[in-house]
């Protein structure tokens, strides 16, 4: 099994006729992802890789039964595209583009909560449930079906973690890229809860990063999870990030340094790892 996407997901691509959309759609199809169509306003009626293109998500959903969407559009178009998908009933949305305005992400998040849609990104490499579906820009070379889930703010870290899990025979149930932007569609805790509910996921590797507040948000969930969580945090040796004025310091308090994050996660019951090779060693100890 897997979380969020599997071989039964009916996947559409917003921006299917664009350069990136077309290129990655073909990769996703090659991987076996069940792409059913896509959108490109004003280009309804065309086909790309033999899949129908529609003017609006609403039409695409009606005609193809799409329930998952991946956005490949310029950052300026993401706010409306995401809200369109949410309003059209898409239940899981992957936002690939980077440089999305933060206020736009706040709007998207509000609509997503209201519409009951899970959003990942922006600035994510996407999500892969190995052997079933690959949504986004992740290279399939690192991934193999298996029993460990991963969730990370970084695409490259996701590849290295999966590479390690694949190499050591664990494989992955689903690998989720939360995205690298300061405000994201989903947070670690929300994804961890989904892994907790997945019987095939025997452990989760969560890789965080200096800055932001999402790792801290995860602690409450980790302390209640039965599935073991392995945690890495990048930036232990990075110079401390600059705070945004007094207000940032007041709102986010002591949050943000990698060392503190890792300590908090460990305190909540996660198993800390330094480099990737600590991952299989820890899994072995845990008997996963």
């Amino acid at each position: 099994m897997a979380i969020l996407v599997d071989k039964n997901s009916r996947v559409m691509v917003q921006g299917l006729t664009g350069g990136a959309g077309k290129f990655h759609a073909s990769r996703m199809l090659e991987y076996g992802t069940n792409i059913v169509g896509g959108t490109s306003p004003g280009k309804g009626g065309l086909t790309v890789h033999d899949k129908p293109v529609f003017d609006t998500v609403e039409e695409c959903v009606k005609q193809t039964g799409a329930d998952v969407s991946v956005i490949f559009l310029p950052a300026v178009a993401v706010k409306e595209a995401a809200i369109e998908a949410i309003r059209a009933g898409i239940k899981f949305l992957v936002v690939i583009p980077e440089h999305i305005p933060i206020h736009d992400m706040l709007h998207i998040r509000e609509e997503a909560v209201r519409g009951g849609t899970t959003v990942i990104g922006g600035n994510t490499a996407g999500i892969i449930s190995p052997g079933q579906a690959n949504l986004g820009i992740m290279p399939d070379i690192a991934f193999t079906p298996g029993r460990v889930g991963t969730v990370s703010r970084s695409g490259s870290i996701t590849y290295y973690v999966a590479d390690t899990l694949t190499r050591t025979g664990y494989g992955e149930s689903t690998c989720v890229g939360l995205g690298g932007d300061p405000v994201l569609g989903s947070t670690f805790d929300e994804i961890l809860l989904k892994f907790e509910e997945d019987p095939e996921t025997k452990a989760v590797v969560m890789t965080g990063e200096i800055g932001g507040v999402y790792e801290e948000r995860a602690c409450g969930v980790i302390s209640k999870m039965k599935t073991p969580v392995l945690a890495m945090v990048g930036g232990i040796f990075a110079p401390p990030g600059k705070r945004m004025g007094h207000a940032g310091a007041i709102v986010e308090g002591k949050m943000g340094t990698a060392k503190e994050k890792l300590e908090m996660l460990a305190g909540a019951g996660a198993h800390p790892c330094k480099t990737f090779k600590d991952i299989p060693e820890t899994l072995k100890k845990l008997g996963v």
């Binding site: 206020h103 706040l106 990048g234």
Partner: protein, 398 residues
């Protein structure tokens, strides 16, 4: 990106938030003229994109224009945290009756905008927040919500603004919140909001940070000189070069040139180097799907950095393609040449094509690859990190 105080105050003025009378000066003659025109005691405020300017001596007072001229001459000579003072904001001085704090920012953990206010404004506000959290008032709003006057009045009351100034203070808070939304800000602060001895409310300082990614919505800012820039401070020459090329880059103190793919591993790769006893010379992010030209430029930055002894390269092709990566490396080797040893690992999207490009180039001219140690998915990244540390320590090619 952070705005200068005078830029922030220009936006305050646009939104009707009262600011002190004053003007910007680029040299000491201008300071003299402005002070003469103001014809009263003035304050000279260094315009630098960094905090702690007051404690560093960047803010001075003068009783008249001649004194202002002399003070300005001195200020134009100093550096604040390494940043030279190139412009001064000259403002009419006022007597302080009380200092308040008002800020708006984003509460990322809860996806809300949050207004923060305190009756104890000034540079020690963070300390106040920590020691006396009761003295800090917060109000969270959704990005879709409007801040109404009565809400603002309530905030003004809670921080102890006197009755007769409540309406003015509420208007300032409402306008600050409007401005936050209108300009896609990440932070706007009035600190301090001063109640002067002669009973005026004035935004005595501005601290504003806008979202670079939303600048396209505000072309009008360009007209007043506000363009994309770093969050804080100025850049080293190499950072400046990288900035011009559009490459996120920061100089660090070590000797290993970091050439990773992606910001995530860019940060974590630095930890790895530390774990194996090395010191990175920089932080760098290739950005999504870099072109061969960009890859080549990234290598130029590292190769020309005299602090760099060896280069650590890693590429996991995702949105970036290994063939483009390999083309960029080859372009660099041919057009610039490599003067430091490099160890790198490449895998991911189009890695077969990338390997072929390397092999062809090597066949053509094996000398180009003399200092290159190249690995694929078979070698864990930890081994590459370890090797980079060895190379930088002068433990040479194997």
């Amino acid at each position: 990106m952070r705005l200068y105080e005078f830029e922030g105050k220009a936006l305050f003025r646009e939104f009707g938030i009262p600011i002190p009378e004053g003007r910007l000066a680029g040299n000491h003659q201008e300071v003299h003229e402005i002070a003469r025109a103001l014809n009263q005691p003035v304050v000279l405020k260094s315009q630098v994109l960094t905090g702690g300017r007051g404690k560093a001596g960047g803010i001075k007072f003068a009783d008249n224009a001649d004194e202002a001229l002399k003070t300005a001459e001195e200020l134009f000579k100093i550096k604040i945290k390494g940043y030279p003072v190139e412009r001064l904001l000259i403002e009419a001085k006022f007597e302080i009756q009380h200092e308040y704090y008002i800020g708006v920012t984003i509460d990322r953990a809860n996806y809300k905008l949050v207004i923060i206010a305190s009756g104890e404004g000034g540079v020690d506000i963070e300390e106040t927040a920590e020691k006396y959290p009761d003295k800090i008032f917060r109000k969270s709003l959704s990005v879709k919500q409007e801040l109404y006057s009565f809400d603002a009045l309530n905030i003004a009351k809670k921080i102890g603004i006197p009755s007769e100034h409540l309406k003015t203070a509420a208007a300032i808070i409402v306008d600050l919140f409007k401005m936050f939304k209108a300009y896609d800000a990440k932070l706007v602060e009035i600190n301090p909001l001063v109640l002067t001895a002669d009973n005026r409310l004035i935004a005595a300082d501005s601290r504003i940070s806008l979202d670079d990614d939303a600048l396209f919505r505000h072309p009008e800012l360009k007209a007043i000189g506000i363009e994309k820039r770093h969050e804080e401070g100025e850049m080293t020459p190499r950072e400046q070069q990288a900035h011009e090329w559009g490459i996120p880059y920061l100089d660090l103190d070590g000797n290993i040139g970091m050439f990773p793919g992606g910001a995530g591993f860019g940060i974590m790769g630095n930890d790895f180097i530390h774990y194996y006893g090395g010191q990175p010379a920089n932080f760098m992010d290739s950005g999504g799907g870099p072109s061969p030209e960009r890859i080549a430029k990234m290598l130029v930055l590292l190769d020309e950095n005299p602090n760099v002894n060896a280069i650590f390269g890693a590429r996991f092709g995702g949105i970036s393609r290994c063939d483009d990566f390999a083309k960029g490396v080859v372009m660099f080797l041919k057009e610039h040449g490599l003067s430091k040893p490099i160890v790198m690992r490449m895998t991911g999207n189009m890695w077969r094509e990338g390997v072929k490009i390397f092999e062809n180039a090597k066949k053509e001219n094996p000398k180009l690859f003399e200092k290159v140690e190249f690995h694929g998915i078979e070698t864990p990244i930890e081994e590459i990190s370890k090797r980079a540390v060895e190379l930088a320590a002068g433990r040479g090619a194997r």
